[in-house]
């Protein structure tokens, strides 16, 4: 039986933890709102840019086969695959990071079973730490980007991947992140970055009028547009992941606060019992002392 003093100390420490987790929950919910807003605003950009790519691809398809284009060709058996994955920089968010890592691992073993070389590009401290610990080499490691996504940084990062793809160093680039569904649900999202699958582009309403292009070179325009599109996908994955991270953390901290509350309750009961017991023993001692003097 723990002494009264021990129990009291324990209650105090649990109460302190409860305060911390509660504060973290509040912080996360505020940050979540911001991230959500950011994601919503950028959706419009996505809509416009996919519309435009679609239209230009169609335009070009009139004259020559799109599948000849390096960005649209299909690769049956890729020799090398780059997996880009996004994890958080911070922990204490439940299974958020481990879910991403788990699905990356599943993809890893799937590709490696087929004899494909897989190169990892990690964004976020937690993912980097995991693969470092497991002595798995990573091609690229970026910290700090998942906590504060910036379009420029995301663009720079993805450009390196695309350059590798064009240079033939890799045949396929896959992007994995844990995305935001709603306040309490996250979902692993896997996007194939390059080659771009033309069927994933939404069918836009295409005008019949002839489109004038400037510069008057289809490839330059399409290439630049696709670069923008990929940059945006990367950036979106970052904000989506950030929103999901805050959602997961909010949930985890909420659960922790509830648990702490529960614990304080049981500890208080324990404390009261122990106190009562001490009083009873003392009384018995006094009474039996008096009894023996008679």
């Amino acid at each position: 039986m723990a002494s009264l003093k021990d129990i009291k100390r324990k209650i105090k420490s649990v109460k302190g933890t409860q305060k911390t987790t509660h504060a973290m929950k509040l912080v996360s919910s505020a940050k979540l709102k911001r991230a959500e807003e950011l994601a919503k605003r950028s959706k419009m950009y996505a809509q416009k840019i996919t519309e435009m790519i679609d239209e230009i691809a169609l335009q070009i398809a009139k004259y020559n086969d799109v599948s000849d284009n390096i960005y649209f060709r299909t690769v049956e058996n890729p020799k090398t695959v780059d997996i880009v994955f996004v994890t958080a920089d911070k922990g204490l968010c439940g299974g958020f990071n481990s879910q991403t890592i788990k699905s990356v691992n599943a993809m890893l073993s799937e590709y490696e079973a087929k004899g494909t070389t897989v190169r990892l590009r990690a964004i976020g401290k937690k993912g980097i730490a995991y693969y470092r610990f497991n002595k798995r080499e990573m091609l690229d490691e970026i910290e700090g980007l998942s906590a504060s996504p910036s379009y420029e940084e995301a663009a720079k990062f993805i450009r390196a991947c695309v350059d590798d793809y064009i240079a033939g160093k890799t045949d396929k680039v896959v992007l994995v992140h844990n995305g935001y569904v709603n306040m309490i649900t996250q979902e692993i999202r896997v996007d194939n970055l390059v080659p771009v699958d033309p069927s994933t582009l939404p069918e836009g309403s295409t005008s019949n009028s002839e489109l004038e292009l400037e510069p008057d070179d289809d490839d330059t325009l399409l290439e630049a547009l696709i670069h923008r599109y990929l940059e945006y996908l990367m950036y979106y994955a970052l904000i989506d992941s950030l929103a999901a991270e805050h959602g997961a953390r909010m949930q985890a901290m909420d659960a922790a606060t509830t648990n702490a509350k529960e614990m304080v309750k049981t500890l208080t009961v324990q404390y009261n019992k122990a106190r009562q017991e001490a009083i009873t023993t003392e009384l018995i001692e006094i009474i039996s002392g008096v009894e023996s003097l008679k």
């Binding site: 950011l38 239209e55 379009y151 004038e212 292009l213 400037e214 945006y232």
Partner: protein
């Protein structure tokens, strides 16, 4: 007077939306103006300044780094990486101008294009 719709979108949201009389854009192959009922066109945009003439006859400047424009008969959509609306109703002109200059200077293009755009931004101040 015919008007057209103009939209300027960045990954961080909508920068400008409204009916306009005319818009001048910094195209990859030179600056060009667009009036309502222009033929369909898609063009790359360079670092520079978009000048908008609204239906009320006001002139609005938007600094951009790079992007695209798609012109339809009565709609112009600009999709850009970064944009700063320099003069709107809310004022705060000097702050916006500083932001715009920063955006332009961080763009990865030739110094000439940046210098031209920056001087254009600076000329706004004089006219006010």
């Amino acid at each position: 007077m015919k008007t057209m719709k103009l939209e300027i979108v960045t990954p961080n949201g909508l920068i400008y939306e409204g009916d306009v009389k005319m818009v001048t854009l910094p195209g990859k192959e030179g600056e060009f103006g667009v009036l309502p009922e222009h033929a369909s066109l898609v063009s790359l945009l360079e670092t520079g300044v978009i000048t908008i003439e609204t239906t009320e006859g006001k002139e609005i400047m938007v600094a951009i780094n790079r992007g695209y424009v798609k012109v339809d008969e009565n709609k112009v959509s600009c999709i850009v990486d970064g944009a700063v609306l320099i003069n709107d109703e809310e004022g705060r002109l000097s702050q916006r101008m500083a932001e715009a200059k920063e955006l332009l200077k961080s763009a990865q293009t030739s110094d000439v294009a940046i210098a031209a755009a920056v001087s254009k931004v600076e000329s706004i101040k004089k006219s006010y």
